[in-house]
């Protein structure tokens, strides 16, 4: 019985200690006086709202973004440590959004790389995938679905990439794979399905 009580006391005591861990996180901060007021502000935020009135909700009408190219002057969200971007492409049907950025791996300019950003705006989810094309050098998006008629279909469509060495690579957004287009094959864009070299395909690297 004594042991049971001891166990209960130990467990209860440690449970209190665990709850106190939240305050410890704040205690890590400190440092320069110019940050003090802002850091103290963070520590003073409540965990409940004084108002229980719901805010107005904005229109939920889907607002598509027609397929468009993103040239080198457009901001890239992907860090250069992951991708040295050449250009990008974007489309959204107002519910789901897909952006593709092409270039070379941040750590190796010889490796062609594509980064795919997908946002499910209704579900509040965002996914990022990295697809490497092998030793192609930097990739550039050469052709992709554009305009207002492709806002949904293009999200699982195909994008043609040009490699630094002059080769062509096809990105299948539906499969999440790249395939190297055989030399001499007819140009796959627009409308015609290209011949691809299966042996040169690379799976998604996550």
């Amino acid at each position: 019985m004594l042991s049971l009580r001891l166990a209960a006391v130990v467990v209860a005591g440690l449970a209190v200690g665990t709850g106190g861990g939240f305050a410890l996180a704040g205690a890590v901060r400190g440092g320069p006086p110019e940050k003090t007021a802002a850091l103290e502000r963070l520590d003073s935020v409540a965990t409940t709202d004084s108002s229980i009135e719901p805010a107005a909700t904005p229109s939920s009408e889907p607002q598509p973004i027609p397929g468009r190219m993103l040239d080198a002057g457009v901001p890239v969200p992907i860090s250069p440590s992951i991708l040295r971007a050449r250009n990008g492409w974007l489309v959204s049907d107002g519910r789901t959004l897909v952006a593709v950025y092409a270039g070379a791996a941040g750590s190796d300019p010889e490796v062609g790389r594509v980064v795919i950003v997908r946002q499910d705006l209704a579900a509040g989810k965002q996914a990022i995938r990295i697809v490497d094309a092998g030793p192609t050098g930097a990739l550039t998006i050469a052709a992709a679905p554009l305009g207002v008629s492709v806002e949904t279909s293009a999200q699982t469509g195909k994008i043609l990439l040009q490699s630094a060495a002059g080769g062509q690579v096809l990105l299948d957004l539906g499969a999440g794979k790249v395939s190297h287009i055989a030399h001499g094959a007819s140009l796959p864009w627009p409308g015609r399905r290209p011949r691809t070299s299966d042996s040169a395909s690379h799976p998604i690297r996550r």
């Binding site: 042991s3 440690l14 110019e34 802002a38 850091l39 965990t47």
Partner: protein, 300 residues
């Protein structure tokens, strides 16, 4: 005795819990902002605020980082950002979107608190025609809009919320002189913490000296944009090397400056070398006790 041993074993396990929890904060989703219109931006921001609140894993204060793209001067006295869909938004439009994010968080609030953060980057500031003075004003107004957002949160009774600013400071994207002005402008305005969720791209991976990084930057420059004034580092840790680079930044700062450098947490991503949890752990393992329990994640 066996029961006592069990109790002590349980006690030992529970004693490890705070450490384990501190070592692996749950990732909080951060968002790249795309929008073709101001109304679209507001709608998406509301959605992000709501989903963030619904998914908030614990009762602590977490950062909701909305990355609006690159800081820009839009007119003679108009500031804002160009977003990732190549649409220019004024700070007034961005503030309206941030307010909708606050509304979304309030309407969907389950537990805890939030720091709604106006993020932008140093992407091609000079290339867009901005001067160092322009960059200072961009940082100033970013902080000012964060304060405006806080005024809104207070006026609406959103006491579980506060607001700050952030910069994706990437050495590859522009020079150190103009990038530092974003931090200086933020400090000049004086309200917002300026989370640096950028990289120490190309910086040394060991030592504590002021070595060279990418694009003419030095370790000391990364230290400046991440800890000078109201700046606090929330660095991108995508690969193990990133944690080593940031450790060098911290060591340099501690050796050269009077104040102690600490990390607000880490920025992680899916699809890269380190999982979010491993990213935070990699930084903490080299900076024990100096990494706060924030973990923002793009792609989570």
């Amino acid at each position: 005795m066996r029961l006592l041993a069990w109790a002590l074993g349980l006690a030992a396990g529970l004693a490890a819990l705070p450490v384990a929890a501190a070592a692996s904060p749950t990732p909080a989703t951060a968002w790249y902002m795309y929008g073709d219109s101001a109304s679209e931006l507001r709608s998406y921001a509301y959605s992000h605020g709501c989903s963030f609140a619904q998914d908030q894993p614990d009762a602590s204060l977490r950062v909701l980082l909305l990355d609006f793209g690159a800081a820009r001067k839009l007119g003679s006295s108009t500031w804002g950002a160009v977003d990732f869909s190549n649409t220019r938004f004024s700070n007034a439009e961005i503030l309206a979107a941030l307010e909708r994010a606050a509304d979304g968080y309030h309407n969907c609030h389950v537990r805890g608190a939030v720091d709604v953060v106006y993020g932008a980057s140093n992407y091609h500031l000079s290339g867009s025609g901005m001067s160092t003075t322009d960059a200072w004003h961009a940082g100033y107004h970013q902080s000012e809009r964060a304060e405006d957002l806080h005024d809104y949160q207070v006026s609406q009774g959103y006491s579980s919320q506060t607001s700050d600013a952030a910069g994706d400071m990437e050495p590859s994207w522009d020079g150190e002189l103009i990038t530092k002005q974003l931090v200086n402008g933020d400090q000049g305005q004086g309200w917002a913490l300026y989370y640096d969720f950028g990289s120490a791209d190309g910086c040394p991976q060991s030592g504590s000296a002021d070595g060279a990084c990418t694009n003419g930057w030095q370790v000391s420059d990364v230290g400046y944009v991440s800890f000078h004034g109201l700046a606090v580092p929330l660095p991108e840790i995508y690969y193990s090397v990133n944690a080593s680079q940031w450790t060098v930044v911290r060591k340099w700062w501690d050796g050269a400056q009077s104040s102690g450098y600490f990390f607000a947490g880490a920025t992680a991503s899916t699809g890269v070398g380190l999982t979010p949890t491993a990213a935070w752990g990699a930084l903490e393992s080299q900076n024990s006790g100096l990494v706060d329990s924030e973990l923002v994640c793009f792609g989570c």
